[in-house]
Symmetry: C2
Subunit: 201 residues, 2 copies
């Protein structure tokens, strides 16, 4: 491999890629997504920044690779944002249910399962859920940054609870219910978190 | 030990107790709480039913022991049920937050963490949450059995989501918020699940 020949770099072997991923996981878990730089990841892995770019492209793609994420939620976020404000929760629920019930969904669910079991991957999941998945959607309807953080947190409780109960614990009747019924039952609650009155807070 | 002397029983050693617990975990996970009998657990552990009663008392206590549960949620359920119907969610949230933030809470949270990571303990947790914790509360306000099952499922999504996000993933601002603020923000949503209109379903 050409990249292996340049000075100051390790050879581009399979385990170099893994070392970069390990360093990236540590960095994202420790410093969060925003404060982590490709340069810091490269330094901690003992490689050149250009090698990290070579393997993973952008910081966003590196992050998705550390999560072993089956999909990039930001692509879904655009579809959810696009439409009437008062049906935002409905679109979000239809989108996540379609994803979770697809073949890619089982990988996503395995990811959540292991993230909850392990401290460091819980931190990664938190970054992933907030920065990539929910925050862009909430910011499309909530200009106040403090309120946007709360709405993101609250929506996360409802979505993670739905995911845990339908897929991880398989509660019935929820686990076998069609998407339309779940949207009808949970949609109004999620919509309040996204756009509704939240009281004095 | 006297129990060890009777015919047809194994000696009441420490590992007999563990064997009973193992058999009980398997039985509860496989058949659910209701369909599991002390007799079946005893048979599968190769001991006399009386020995199971001797060690664990009732089926309910045996179940709590298999979960290694730090508290019996049924005792809390009575406190939650007692009060005005339209403040049921408020009382439930105050009760679970006080419990989860207490020293006993960390044991409960560890239990949830490991239950989500492992298939068989997920099944136990499901039984535990439904039969012991939420179902009695929901049945105190909802006479229709199908609707009661749905309300229990929906309330479970909200409570498990709150627990996961506040304690397991430690989302901010949720993780540091005082109980009163969380009750104000989440209470109306939980109240809809417990007693509100749920649409056509």
């Amino acid at each position: 491999m050409v990249v292996g020949r340049r000075s100051g770099r390790r050879p581009g072997k399979r385990d170099t890629r893994d070392e970069i991923l390990d360093a990236a996981r540590q960095a994202f878990a420790q410093s969060g997504y925003d404060a982590t730089t490709i340069r810091a990841v490269a330094e901690s892995a003992g490689v050149d920044s250009a090698l990290v770019h070579h393997y993973f492209g952008t910081k966003e793609k590196l992050f998705l690779a550390t999560m072993d994420a089956p999909v990039d939620p930001r692509r879904y976020a655009e579809k959810v944002i696009d439409g009437p404000r008062d049906q935002l929760a409905e679109r979000l629920l239809h989108t996540v249910l379609a994803l979770w019930d697809s073949p890619k969904g089982s990988a996503a669910i395995a990811l959540v399962r292991s993230s909850i079991a392990h401290e460091w991957s819980a931190k990664l999941l938190r970054e992933f859920l907030l920065k990539r998945a929910l925050q862009p959607i909430v910011e499309s309807v909530e200009p106040d940054p403090d309120l946007a953080r709360w709405r993101t947190n609250l929506a996360a409780t409802q979505l993670m609870g739905l995911l845990s109960m339908r897929y991880l614990l398989a509660l019935e009747p929820l686990a076998s219910a069609p998407h339309g019924q779940i949207v009808e039952l949970i949609g109004p609650n999620l919509q309040r978190y996204l756009t509704g009155e939240l009281g004095e807070s």
